[in-house]
């Protein structure tokens, strides 16, 4: 037994140091030196203050801003310390009820939007609860509300949305989308 135990323990300790300590610390050092902005969270600043991360969705509640998707992260959503999906089943009353309420709110708040045409990502919670993006369809559905709240023409707001569309990566990977924080900052810059 001892014939196997001693090398087992020694091998465990050697690999622990190499793979558990040296490897992650070396990657951290290289990342921090060569790509600090990315390694530290792709933070977005405005006037020197951190207003969020380009990658992490956040809550926008006012009518003058585009809103992100419903979020199940934390009690109020978009909690950066509690990423989570709703984990509700497709046959869950809680899910269908929540979507029905969200459809009603969306139709009430967004002129021109009717039940049946509400983009699905507008009323469903994301996998992380921190989805930074909405679909172009979701953004277009909010244009009328934002334009009216800001006293801008819908055409002007729509143009800003189009300027902030992110196409598929390299032209074919993933989906087209709009980063909500970037879009809202562009709106503020335009006024």
């Amino acid at each position: 037994m001892q014939k196997y135990t001693i090398p087992a323990v020694r091998m465990a300790l050697v690999t622990l140091v190499v793979l558990g300590l040296l490897y992650p610390l070396a990657i951290t050092a290289v990342a921090q030196v060569t790509m600090p902005a990315k390694a530290n969270g792709s933070l977005v600043t405005s006037g020197g203050a951190i207003v969020g991360s380009e990658l992490i969705g956040q809550r926008f509640a006012g009518p003058t801003y585009f809103h992100g998707r419903p979020s199940a992260a934390g009690a109020d959503g978009y909690d950066g310390q509690a990423s989570a999906a709703s984990n509700l089943a497709p046959t869950s009353k809680a899910l269908v009820g929540r979507v029905e309420t969200a459809v009603g709110d969306a139709v009430r708040d967004n002129p021109g939007l009717t039940a049946g045409s509400v983009p699905v990502d507008m009323v469903t919670a994301s996998g992380s609860g921190l989805d930074p993006d909405i679909t172009p369809a979701n953004a277009y559905a909010q244009v009328a509300r934002v334009a009216s709240a800001r006293g801008m023409t819908p055409e002007a707001v729509r143009r800003i949305v189009e300027e902030n569309l992110t196409g598929r990566q390299s032209g074919f990977l993933g989906e087209s989308r709009v980063n909500v924080l970037r879009l809202n900052m562009a709106l503020d810059a335009a006024k």
Binding site: R10, V51, A82, S86, T91, V96, G127, E175
Partner: protein, 574 residues
């Protein structure tokens, strides 16, 4: 939709393009031959052997090989268990995580040592940075390397002649992580950082949003762990949302790299097998059978997810794909991935024994979620885990030649070696142990109040949640229908036991078969030989995998995902 399908086919091509050269490289590594990394890594390799006090050239019988593996894994478990219990008083704990309770630490330590990476805690709050690095990143490498050793030992058992020796465990282990996993992880981790995956020792960043709300975002040494998490088919998330979290998987490119990472080594090992068997066609046959099963499963998942949830259409959501949205069942999915990249990820993570998720598995439409569960239940032989996928599929190959032999009256033999009653009994034991563990533990859970209390959903989905948990645990996958509250003592304990049964009640018979097959003579093919390098054998192998999986699990699935599918279309809610 056309683009979606093209991308999926393209992914299959990428797996082949990456897997083939990697497989040949691994064949050289495990034979101890010189590779282009040898000048740099050979001194490190020698230092590891010296520090551990092992002789890498000493050949082992299967019993020594298995004993070394088991005691090494037990040493790892003990260290990890202590780390989890004591993390509250250890350094590098910027988010003030506390020590885990005994049952949670048992569950978690077993989980990471067995390559399951099931997590009954939330990554953000449950563990310290020290645990993430020293505990999880370490075991992500080691549990994967352990799986690779068993695969290589099994290939040697099938291909060596008239010997009792199947290699040296310490050499196979060290070469696995040093020549394969570590160099690839270094490159992949840095690509992840370039896309936005965080890599820092800080614990959190605070922002004040333009609407004036304070948002605290957890960060940490994520990229270094993310690389080996996928490459080693581990799957444990740094964050609770796993690879749906933008700090783990920020872009469509990282998503592609993640799915490719999960399949690279398992696919590569089929070619390693072909090379070591001296006949590449033997490996290609295994690869082909895996690819057929994978694309069939992917088609099911993509099709049902793309079609969406009729209940959401009924209350006014538009799930139809258009130029401005991907549409489909978006509950639990990220916009940047849409339906196609989420379905690809879901199919890959369950076919491979990974368990990483880029969306909520439990919110998938019933038959898509059921297909993901079936991928695991088939034994994760569709490319499967690093190492475990290959040895699992080779067990099915032995079974297939045996069944074919019975049907057409030929002597069952594989690679020129006769398969005897002893090997068949061991193979059947391994397969039955998995299925029985899943079904018995599920039955126990749904017939006890403690088990029933954990369900988030009533009705057939509640059964699916429990069945998925044990399928995932025993299958060493680690993904979840996460509605289930698995943090109770009942589930941490039973799933912990399930993970141990699923890992070691398979590995030990596999190594025993390796020892037994190594002793046999290799006979040249005769007219009585059933060829195992033909298209016919691909079909036979696919058939055997499906029939065994279907016969074992269909009754339970009929009451879970299948029933839920029909109730969903009838508008019945729970």
């Amino acid at each position: 939709m056309t683009l979606d399908i093209l991308r999926m086919v393209g992914f299959g091509g990428l797996v082949l393009v990456v897997g083939y050269p990697l497989g040949l490289y691994m064949a050289r590594v495990f034979a101890g031959e010189r590779t282009w990394l040898t000048p740099v890594l050979a001194p490190v390799e020698r230092a590891v052997y010296r520090l551990a006090g092992v002789d890498p050239s000493a050949e082992m019988r299967w019993t020594s090989y298995a004993s070394s593996l088991l005691l090494f894994n037990f040493a790892c478990f003990t260290i990890l268990y202590l780390l989890l219990r004591l993390q509250g008083v250890l350094p590098l704990n910027p988010t003030a995580a506390t020590g885990m309770s005994p049952d949670m630490a048992f569950n978690t330590a077993v989980s990471f040592v067995t390559n399951t990476n099931w997590q009954a805690f939330a990554g953000e709050t449950g563990v310290s940075h020290l645990t993430q690095m020293l505990g999880f990143t370490w075991q992500n490498f080691i549990s994967a390397a352990s799986g690779m050793t068993v695969a290589v030992a099994f290939i040697r058992g099938l291909t060596r002649k008239e010997t009792r020796e199947i290699g040296n465990f310490w050499a196979d282990l060290t070469r696995s992580w040093l020549y394969v996993l570590l160099p690839m992880s270094i490159v992949i981790a840095l690509v992840y950082v370039s896309q936005g995956t965080v890599q820092t020792l800080a614990g959190a960043v605070t922002a004040k949003t333009i609407e004036g709300v304070t948002q605290v975002m957890r960060v940490g040494p994520v990229a270094s762990q993310e690389a080996i998490k996928l490459l080693g088919t581990n799957g444990g998330g740094f964050f609770n949302a796993n690879s749906a979290h933008p700090f783990e998987n920020p872009t469509p490119l990282t998503n592609l790299l993640q799915v490719l990472s999960m399949f690279a080594i398992p696919a590569g090992l089929t070619f390693t097998f072909g090379r070591m068997a001296g006949r590449m066609r033997q490996g290609v046959v295994i690869f082909a059978a895996m690819a057929i099963l994978f694309f069939a499963g992917l088609g099911v998942i993509y099709g049902f997810e793309h079609a969406g949830n009729p209940n959401l259409t009924r209350v006014g959501a538009d799930q139809v794909a258009s130029a401005a949205q991907a549409g489909g069942n978006m509950e639990g999915k990220e916009v940047r991935f849409g339906i196609a990249d989420s379905a690809l990820y879901g199919a890959t993570t369950t076919a491979a024994s990974s368990g990483a998720v880029n969306g909520a598995m439990t919110s998938m439409t019933p038959l898509a979620g059921g297909m993901a569960m079936l991928n695991i239940a088939l034994g994760e032989v569709v490319f499967g885990g690093v190492g475990s996928g290959l040895y699992g599929m080779l067990i099915f190959a032995l079974l297939a030649v045996f069944i074919a032999g019975l049907m057409v009256g030929r002597t069952p033999e594989y690679l020129g070696k006769k398969i005897g009653p002893k090997e068949m009994k061991l193979a059947m034991f391994a397969i039955l142990a998995l299925a029985a563990s899943v079904l018995v533990l599920t039955a126990l859970a749904i017939s006890s109040p403690a088990g029933l209390a954990g369900r988030l959903t009533q009705g057939p989905h509640g059964l699916s949640e429990v069945l998925y948990a044990f399928t995932s645990g025993v299958g060493n996958n680690g993904s979840a229908f996460a509605g289930l509250d698995a943090a109770t003592v009942f589930y941490t304990t039973t799933i912990g036991i399930g993970m141990l049964l699923g890992r070691y009640l398979f590995i030990i018979p596999v190594l025993a078969i390796a020892g037994s097959m190594a002793r046999k003579k290799q006979a040249p093919p005769s007219s009585g030989t059933f060829p195992t390098d033909s298209g016919m054998f691909v079909g036979l192998l696919v058939g055997v995998v499906l029939i065994i999986g279907a016969l074992t699990f269909f009754p339970a699935y009929a009451l879970g995902p299948v029933l839920e599918h029909f109730l969903m279309h009838a508008g019945t809610l729970f």
